[in-house]
Amino acid sequence: MAVTVREPARQRVDRLERIWAEPRGVFGWLTTTDHKRIGLLYFFTALAFFGAGGIEALLMRAQLSEPNEKLLSPETYDQLMTMHGVTMIFLFVIPMTTGAFGNYLVPLMIGARDMAFPRMNALSYWLFLASGLFMYYSVFTHAAPNAGWFDYVPLALNQFSPGRNIDFYALGLIFNGIASTATAINLIATTFKLRAPGMSMNRMPLFCFAILAVSLSLIFALPSLTADLVFLELQRNLGFHFFDVANGGDPLLWQHLFWLFGHPEVYIIILPAMGIATSIIPTYSKRKMIAFPLVALAELLVAFIGFGVWAHHMFATGLPTITLVFFAAASMMVVIPSAIQIFAWTVTVALGRPEFRTPLLFIGGFILLFVIGGLSGIMFAAIPFDQATTDTYFVVAHFHFIIFGAAVFPILGGFYYWFPKITGRLYHEGLGKLSFWLTFLGTALTFFPMHILGLIGMPRRVYTYPSSLGWGPYNLSETVGAFILTAGLLVIFGNLVWSRFRGPPAGPDPWHGGTLEWATTSPPPPYNFPVIPVVTSAYPNWDRDDRRADAGRLERGELVLDEGHETPASTVVDAVPDEVVEMPGESPWPLAVALCTALLFVMLLTRHYAVAGIFAAMTLLAVAAWHSQEPQEQ
């Protein structure tokens, strides 16, 4: 901002710089509690896993490019297919949206200086990294999970899967779930308690509402996956009986618990995309989102309804008709909050003065792909149609339109949109537009023919197919599409890497965005804001008078909080400032706890239960050491 900083203000800012400075170099990154640095760690790690999941997809597409192809053995194909699903969902989309976007942006958007629990935030990251490495270690032992990401029993029981493959899956996901739960708790507490003075619930940015909805979904969905995985491990390794009929168990119990998690999971993946759309659309349309409260409620409703639809993944398992009808009706209800949002996005663009820069193009692509994937989704709510197309490529087409087209396009648009904020530089617009069209065409060409293949009978989860069925040309076009899509993604990353070093300076607010992250410098300083902003609307950065008042408060030293590592905490609904809380700074203990936990899981995998007990005790000791340093003692 072009405010001349007079001497006292300059001194205050210098003091903030000193208080919030973290150690330099690798050690600084290992002990950091800065939500922005943790967000970047999440970003690069999730991106690496995206690369791994993408390579797995390309290998499968190469194998399927023509009939009777011999590139991959069926065993390898099964492992690639499972790892592709697990990676994209648990190691790419969730950490990218909650870990990278949520971590980096939520405190900035609500005018806070960090997350509510900074050390637990670091712990989440290290646990996530360790769980990802744990699962990927299986690839090097040639024992990667191979029963699909849904891991249905009885296939996943040890009679049929005797190796360590499924144990890598089950323990890895329990491990990963701890990390996701910690992140979700942190994000909920942050949005509830750390909003800037005046940012009452109805003024919280829609992106934060989406992240809040995702976090609530994680909190209530992950336990059923965890319980399911614990049952599976107890049955596989200690002889318990949950899933075998001979001893009073039931294989459908696995599916019920899995999808009771798995369907909310779909909305966990898509909701951040909706949140990103509600950030990008108002900025480039130069107007506020229409129906703001309805959109906020719709985001929460999507998450809520997601808990009542799980059995629509089980229409072909022989459940009673009355159950099927209930879940079909519930599934159709999801259309309502989704349609509210689609209309709100499109009408906001239509009523504004849209400027079709790259991020908005990605949102346009997102809306189109979401509508197509949504329409094929409604078709599955018709029970006979679902029973006819279940286990065919039609299903694969549907969910890739949703979880690649709809969930990942806004993530890619978000990379471009917030790139200037994070790096302080502008990306190349021409290359950006080219990358959009490549990605969009690649996506359509990869996933659209799958609808046709499904309708003419190609089953899912097959590693090859005979030449006599006429599936070859469609499969070939999908493989070509997958490589065009990859080219588009490479242009995106090439553009961003080049712009990181050569892009023109962006300034604090290149797009004239409405939310608070644009009110500070690019990249933001470690303390985010020199003075805690006071908010009077949902688009505070468009309230020029308020931001001038902030600058005045910096001069007077009000709400600068330059006496310590501090941020204000507020009341939950009205955001009345309540107290100034001391935030913990950098700590080596989160990394130590994650390391002990990782060794605990390795010992469980290798069935050294006594040693596992030792590492569990060490984990507790590390947690105790962590908490014996209180924030005000630092």
Binding site: A189, K193, F220, V230, N247, G564, E566, E579, V581, A624
Partner: protein, 206 residues
Amino acid sequence: MSALPHSGDATTPPAVTRIEHTRLARPNGWWGMAIFVATEATLFGTLIGTYYYLRFNNAHWPPPDVPEPKLTLPLVLTGILVATSLPMQLAVSAAGRGRLVTARVALLVAVVVQAGYLGMQLHLFVHDVHEFPPSRSSYSSIYFTMLGGHHLHVGIGVLLNVWLLLRTATGLTTYRMNALRATAFYWHFVNILALCVVGTQLSPRA
């Protein structure tokens, strides 16, 4: 607004009391625990749901070779555990008024009873495992998984209380006060959970 209380500066009982009195909303740490409890409650909801799912899939529950769950001892033990919610809440209100000694005595009473409960329950657990091991049927599998899960939560609660006793030995800060409130909340949850778990496990007797 510059008069906002700085909770980090409160490192003596009277200062902590002042923060407790001026605060409008519950502290961050309480919210963190409340959300954690929400996810744990869902986990136990899943376990109880699984119990009934398996029960409705079996003609005999418990199976013929398994004794019916005992009634008296589990109910008495649960009653004793649930009663520790009182000293836990007493510790919170005493610490909030600056009476650190009362708070520590209440915590000590609570943790002794809780540890005694856990020791007794573990003894019963081992005895039952020998009588009808979890590998025998789906009944004993979910029985021991649910019970073991609850004992684990009691164990963690005992460790939290021991930790609080050690920390409050050197005085009271807002950080410790928040930890005490969060831990008391956790114990109320574990105690309600004990009622749900014992109710579920005794349901075949009804």
